[in-house]
Symmetry: C2
Subunit: 144 residues, 2 copies
Amino acid sequence: MFSKACEYGIKASIFIALNSYEGKRVSLKAIAKEINSPEAFTAKILQDLVRHGIINSVKGAYGGFEIDKHSISTIKLSQIVNAIDGDSIYKGCGLGLHRCDENHPCPVHDKFKSVRDELKQMLEHTNLEELALDIKSGVAFLKT
Amino acid sequence: MFSKACEYGIKASIFIALNSYEGKRVSLKAIAKEINSPEAFTAKILQDLVRHGIINSVKGAYGGFEIDKHSISTIKLSQIVNAIDGDSIYKGCGLGLHRCDENHPCPVHDKFKSVRDELKQMLEHTNLEELALDIKSGVAFLKT
DNA sequence: TTCAATTAGGATAAAAATGTCCTAATTGAA
DNA sequence: TTCAATTAGGACATTTTTATCCTAATTGAA
């Protein structure tokens, strides 16, 4: 469904949010370890998220990644997915047609519409806060 | 959502079904042209579908691909997707966790469940016949 | 029987995604 | 001031996906 990069990006964001609530900055190393991802590759993805203004980075000793405590509940999954994978998951045709709309639909256009719309709604209504809280309370996990 | 190979596979199957209804066999060349796909790559995908028993092939002059007229309505999109992309779209964790279930869920497990279930239902309940009929009646298209 | 049309399939190439390595730049603390 | 810790980012390597090329095998018709 999502690219590996996007999966890592989502998990990393959740972990950063979790720590930012406690005023803790986290290093790339700690993130990669926690979400079980390759460090250097994860670094690229984090850079991307920083550029998109979704997370913040602080260079140098005692540096790391963080998210403004007050914006954690306003960051939606859709923003992360968009930053990394783009919007093709919403907008793209299920069969890859260049043009695919109500007036010129691919054979599965209507059938896909509801699936894609539900996915879109879900991503646009799920924020980092709720995901982080599930990790904190131990009802959800970031690895294994 | 799906791989390019899968998109081609679905479109090719629809076109073959459409012709099989009229007792016509279609060549690789005609298929690739109709669905706007690279010929040699499409050939590999068709071979795959033949091996999975979803379509039939006839070698030699006047050969081509066809689908038994009576099975067109029984072939589900899920069979084609499974043959080409496997079942990860159903079974895989949205965040790529090795283990992800009710007792050890990833942070988006529940939220994804409904999306994935709807997709699964859709694929398992959509058959080639209805898709082919939409092309025949001109309400849906295989390219552009 | 010969031949052109056609699928099968191995080998290879190109492109995209994923992953690694190395150096530069920055920063806070000792 | 120096140094270790850290992010930034360019270059490269590997793997996977997508695409191409070539030859073999099959088949029906002339």
